[in-house]
Subunit: 201 residues, 2 copies
């Protein structure tokens, strides 16, 4: 599959939210990305694989999770305009602890680490773009760690603030797994939330 | 207190592990940092404060933790040559969930967000340095999240691989708090580790 104009547009828009590029700079960046279609339930990464790519989501919904005690623990979701990867595995060339799979038929643009490193050296603004992305991702993750020991209600609020507008892409079971609670607890929390909204009227 | 030559040397060495600087570039960077002495148990940041600085540790030992259910949960330690801050609070200008305090008398260099942003714009190599720092910090934190649901033994191994050579700076209670286990469990794990080493001989 060849890279399509709408994919280029989505990628450029995402980068230009942070840094403005010349056409020449963008073409050089885009030339290192290749499109990939992933069917629902197909893997981009499996535990024990070495992660080789960073992925930019064009369409669909993906999740990163790990298996522990035969249960899935969702670590992150990614939707249109998000990036997803296992950077620890990629940086250290070590087997991943995570799976990344598609929750629905999805399209991503992938770029490998060598291409990224050469883009970082060639295009200063691309380096800056990734600095800002990592800065946000790191800070969001610090916050997530703090949330993990708060109440289930707080954790659901965190989910809504991060992912709320994509909630229809994700099953209740997957949200519960992200929050580390049962489906029954999730539905209790959501009902409480609705009750609170009605009470406020 | 004026910035001292050994502080400048430590800062320059830390940055030059990633990018080489001219003297002019380093002087420009260093001019935005100011030294700060922190006595044992003194705070650099308290919960509900807005975090205003990134800190580079010259000497001593610091920790970042939060309070939950009247217990301290250590999120991160920082020793000579490490950086520590609450980036979520700094980026979003929101009250912090965390405390940062000194485990022993310490010296840090501090730099505020406005100075950092202007350095990012003026010195391309400094931007790259932070991109690499955030990339490593983000990936280490992804790994830490995966570890948090593994066994106490695995979590102790993670602590040793990250902080082992600084273990003498940190009390057993603080290590236990970082691992999310009791002091009794920590001492059992350490004894098991020593037994294993002896058995291998």
């Amino acid at each position: 599959m060849k890279i399509q104009p709408y994919m280029l547009l989505a990628l450029r828009r995402n980068i230009e939210n942070v840094v403005k590029l010349t056409d020449g700079e963008f073409d050089q960046i885009a030339s290192r990305f290749t499109p990939k279609l992933i069917r629902k339930n197909q893997f981009l990464l499996e535990e024990q694989d070495k992660c080789k790519h960073d992925y930019f989501v064009i369409k669909g919904a993906l999740r990163q999770y790990r298996m522990h005690d035969t249960k899935e623990w969702v670590n992150q979701f990614a939707f249109e305009g998000w990036w997803i990867s296992d950077w620890y595995s990629m940086l250290n060339n070590t087997p991943s602890d995570f799976y990344i799979d598609a929750l629905e038929n999805s399209e991503v643009l992938q770029v490998n680490k060598k291409a990224l490193d050469s883009l970082f050296d060639q295009i200063v603004k691309f380096d800056k773009f990734y600095r800002v992305m990592f800065q946000r991702a790191f800070s969001a993750q610090q916050k997530r760690i703090a949330f993990m020991q708060k109440s289930a209600e707080s954790r659901y609020e965190e989910f809504v603030s991060m992912y709320g507008r994509f909630e229809t892409h994700v099953s209740q079971a997957q949200i519960a797994s992200y929050l580390g609670i049962t489906r029954e607890s999730l539905s209790r929390i959501k009902n409480l939330g609705i009750k609170r909204l009605i009470d406020q009227k």
